[in-house]
């Protein structure tokens, strides 16, 4: 990897109980990873695995007061974000580090025209003249593939389709020329043809601006087609990471392998049975057991899996896995 944009070390997030007598949840536990400049990294896992809370922690947007970072370092463009003051962090968030979410309607103000929402940030942060800000907004809308951008500046969010609204969100994120875009399920609510357009747009923007992308998704197909590297999360931990083609072509963790076998593929054999992964992920509020958290669902489980949790061990090929079963015994 060349230059690093983001370096997360040993990040843990705790969510306090919402009622007296409840137990706190260790939602993210000792997560470490890096994102290189111009790299697209996929953070993949099933609901509740901690992928969204990881991204919210990076953006300092954990739900308050219940959610907080309990440990770890977030290195971004050479600074430790956790050591910055609130004012300094605000300058990073939404500027150098921008974000888009699954549902643009929750991020867009339904009462404001698209143009007003697009120029608000620029005028606020850099004191740009309204006319200049509008011209820039128009050129960005054109860049993200919105036809008749000048007209669209006067539209309200509800007048746009879901795909067009997501393009507006991307344009808004690009206003500050961020070095990292965090995209949380950006195409999950979209039809497959629109999804393909948005993924192509993100890929083009990465190429032309050298922008890094952290793509959070549950869809292995999206990761496989759009990302350079993948981080697989389970029960608040990264269980496997590495280059996408290597990890998906030859998974080294039983959970990654099970996920791939459970995923229906258009290019698979016809009417082939899916191998389902039985059981459910563990609850993270209970007293966490000593062993590997995947052990109860694992098809390769052995006695040492119940006694201690395996560490995340990296190899020379840039891959890492958290599993007691030796790699050579895996297949």
């Amino acid at each position: 990897m060349s230059e690093r944009v983001l370096r997360v070390e040993d990040l843990s997030v705790r969510i306090e109980p919402d009622r007296p007598g409840g137990l706190p949840v260790r939602a993210v536990d000792g997560v470490s990873f890096e994102v290189g400049r111009g790299e697209v990294v996929g953070l993949v896992g099933e609901s509740g695995c901690g992928k969204t809370l990881t991204s919210l922690a990076l953006l300092d947007l954990l739900p308050r007061p219940r959610g907080r970072i309990t440990s770890g370092r977030i290195g971004f463009e050479g600074r430790d974000l956790r050591a910055l003051s609130e004012v300094e962090r605000r300058a990073v968030r939404g500027q150098e580090m921008a974000m888009i979410f699954q549902d643009p309607m929750t991020s867009l103000n339904p009462y404001l025209r698209i143009g007003e929402q697009l120029i608000e940030g620029t005028m606020w942060h850099s004191g740009t003249a309204r006319r200049v800000a509008l011209a820039r907004a128009e050129s960005l809308l054109t860049r993200v593939g919105i036809p008749d951008a000048a007209d669209r500046l006067r539209a309200f969010p509800h007048e746009l389709s879901g795909g067009m609204r997501q393009r507006v969100m991307i344009a808004m994120a690009l206003l500050s020329d961020p070095s990292l875009l965090i995209a949380d399920e950006p195409t999950t609510a979209l039809d497959v043809t629109t999804q393909a357009q948005i993924l192509a747009l993100l890929s083009d923007l990465r190429a032309e601006r050298g922008m890094s992308v952290l793509l959070i998704t549950h869809d292995l197909g999206v990761v496989g087609s759009a990302c350079d590297r993948v981080l697989v999360m389970y029960a608040g931990r990264i269980v496997e990471s590495g280059p996408v083609d290597a990890v998906f072509g030859d998974p080294a963790h039983p959970y990654t392998r099970a996920l791939l076998r459970a995923t229906p593929r258009v290019d698979g054999p016809p009417r082939e049975a899916l191998q389902s992964l039985e059981g459910l992920p563990p609850r993270l509020d209970a007293k966490v057991t000593a062993g590997c958290l995947f052990a109860p669902r694992c098809d390769r489980v052995r006695s040492d899996c119940w006694t201690a949790e395996p560490p995340l061990v990296a190899d020379e090929q840039g891959r890492a896995r958290r599993c007691w079963v030796p790699r050579e015994e895996f297949e």
């Binding site: 393909a196 357009q197 993924l199 087609s225 229906p264």
Partner: protein, 313 residues
């Protein structure tokens, strides 16, 4: 049992009145579904696939056409007229939360149709509920729990158990796994496949996920702006899709090591309130020629299916 297909739909249309305007959500759709087979109905949001299923189930009024179950006409039946067929046609929805009464426990939810349709009571009812729960992979010991105590996948199993309680012949499944995680989705899909093998159910499976279709369907019908544009055996549709829209859909699916093909112009589905003249797909079609904007394509019969395109046949 007579020789008529399990489900036979002919020229079925559904209209919605929107003030002065009329929205034709389903436009002259025809197909057959045999027992023990799965027909997947695919298409993008708003294409009319859910409306079609609801019209077949008698949950929405249809404007014209015919829906026959083993040769008996269902269209135009009163609520009372539907009663003998209600048991034979069951529907499972995407969101089990919206279709399960939160104040009823699993036992009452699954047992309700048994009480209504078969008049079961007491120990026999309890026995039947336990048997159904086992059949869909739920622990009968959990039958006194309420929906909120179950996971999303378990709630979907309750929905399926409820539908199976009355031993239906036809199951209409509307995006039943779309809200589920992939590991849970695989469990539900394998459950449906196993039940079909055991019970010989005919399944109309509505989904936007072509990967799911590949694993489940014998036949596929592709819908665009209310019309079927192609119907074909699944093998053929995936190997050689004929209609340009089927090709676009398949090429857009992201998969490992394959950058999905994106249409450069940002082509979007036009409003069904004002469908384009000529072929409805022509503004987005890469193969379109001048006459596609003028002439309306009709269904062309091909082996074991149809295609609606001026450039085919």
């Amino acid at each position: 049992m007579n020789g008529a297909p399990l489900l036979s739909v002919r020229g079925l249309s559904v209209d919605f009145a929107l003030g002065e305007a009329r929205l034709r959500a389903v436009d002259r759709v025809s197909f057959d579904l045999e027992a023990g087979r799965t027909l997947a109905l695919v298409g993008e949001s708003g294409c009319g696939k859910s409306t079609l299923a609801r019209a077949i189930a008698g949950l929405l009024p249809s404007s014209e056409g015919s829906v026959q179950l083993r040769g008996d006409e269902l269209l135009g039946l009163s609520r009372r007229g539907w009663r003998p067929f209600r048991r034979r046609v069951q529907m499972v929805f995407q969101d089990p939360d919206a279709s399960l009464n939160p104040r009823m426990n699993a036992s009452s939810l699954i047992g309700e149709p048994l009480v209504v349709h078969q008049g079961l009571r007491g120990a026999r009812l309890d026995e039947a509920v336990c048997e159904l729960m086992e059949r869909v992979g739920l622990d009968p010991a959990l039958r006194t729990r309420f929906p909120h105590a179950f996971s999303g996948g378990q709630r979907q199993r309750i929905g399926i158990a409820r539908a199976l309680a009355v031993e239906p012949e036809l199951l209409l499944c509307d995006e039943v796994t779309s809200a589920l995680d992939v590991s849970i989705q695989a469990q539900i899909l394998e459950l449906l496949r196993g039940l079909q093998d055991q019970l010989g159910l005919g399944i109309l499976f509505i989904t936007h996920d072509l990967g799911v279709v590949r694993h489940l369907a014998h036949d596929v019908a592709v819908m665009y702006l209310g019309e079927l544009v192609e119907r074909a055996p699944a093998d053929r549709l995936f190997a050689e899709p004929s209609h340009p829209y089927s090709r676009l859909l398949l090429s857009a699916v992201p998969r490992v090591g394959h950058r999905p093909a994106a249409q450069a112009d940002g082509g979007e589905v036009p409003s069904p309130l004002a469908p384009p003249p000529g072929c409805r797909f022509h503004p987005r079609c890469v193969e379109g020629v001048e006459r596609c904007a003028r002439e309306v394509p009709e269904e062309i019969d091909v082996a074991e299916g149809i295609v609606r395109c001026l450039l085919r046949g």
